[in-house]
Amino acid sequence: MSKVIFNEELCKGCGLCVNACPKQILALSKTRLNGKGHTPVEQIDPDKCIGCAFCAMMCPDCVITVIRE
């Protein structure tokens, strides 16, 4: 069981993590904005996460922490 934690306030909505995810389970929010006015990234299907950390490796802003249990 893997888990990703987003430090949402740091997210600039660039979407590089969305494209890096091999399971395609990340998306930019369509309903929320963070404090900076960007659309933060969300996990749409957390159960499919394999904890590969590709998203975190491509994130320029260190938004993502990846935990594998």
Partner: protein
């Protein structure tokens, strides 16, 4: 088990870079190298002028701000005064390849035991997208609105190839960060550049082919794709000098 988290050598300051700017990735790779080699307490960084001018806010080690292009000269001074410390300079292409070319070449020619991280994004980012020495032929910028024409604006400068003609540099490699595989290679190269300095081997320069989505006028992902299709043919990845490997071959 935590598989991935923010490295300790980065502060909690929010990066001021534009969305999708690869400066953030390279900052993280440098910080990871510092963490993994356990040199945080004795590392001194030199920040350039350019988009990364405020890098001193982001690295948790001691930092100095150099005037435009002079980061390798400042790094030389620090390293000679404090030879036990690890000194790195973080520079962009306008800083390293244009105004600071003299310092860059001279520092490399002397083979100073410092680590240089060179961000090549083929444009001046901070000042609003003017042509850089590394801009591609035909690239449209603020100061080459009809595309860079070699007749009037010359050809791009390939820094790794240029420095590889010198005798002294110990390690020169060009990497990029446009996908996960390349990020991993870049991390390995940056770590090796720091390792060389820890072992007292000499001058290491890592050129990172980077994206500037804002001034290229592209979305972040399209900018990464443009690196692959347009930048890499002009700036081929690879090791341009590795005295370790050369020594092994002679054995």
């Amino acid at each position: 088990m935590v598989v991935f988290e923010k490295p300790k050598a980065l502060t909690d300051a929010v990066l001021h870079y534009c969305p999708g700017c690869t400066h953030g990735i390279v900052h993280r790779l440098v910080a990871e190298a510092i963490d993994e080699l356990g040199i945080e307490g004795k590392t001194i960084g030199v920040a350039p002028v350019g988009c990364s001018v405020m890098a001193y806010d982001y690295f948790a080690c001691d930092m100095i701000e150099a005037s435009h292009g002079r980061a390798p000269a400042v790094a030389t001074g620090v390293k000679r005064a404090l030879p036990d410390n690890i000194v790195f300079a973080y520079q962009g292409d306008g800083d390293l390849a244009s105004i600071g070319l003299c310092e860059t070449v001279s520092t490399a020619a002397r083979g100073e035991n410092v680590t240089i991280i060179f961000i090549n994004n083929a444009i001046y980012g901070m000042t609003g997208g003017q042509m850089a020495p590394t801009s591609l032929i035909g690239q449209v910028t603020q100061t080459s609105p009809y595309g860079r024409d070699p007749k009037t604006q010359g050809y791009p400068i390939n820094i790794c190839e240029l420095l590889a003609t010198l005798d002294a540099p110990y390690y020169l490699e060009r990497v990029t960060v446009n996908n996960v595989q390349h990020v991993r290679q870049a991390k390995k190269a940056i770590k090796k550049a720091f390792q060389n300095q820890v072992e007292g081997k000499g001058y290491s320069l890592i050129e990172v082919v980077s994206a500037c989505p804002t001034n290229w006028g592209m979305t972040p992902q399209k900018a990464l794709d443009w690196i692959e299709t347009d930048m890499l043919p002009r700036y081929p990845l690879g090791v341009y000098r590795d005295k370790d490997a050369e020594a092994k071959k002679e054995d």
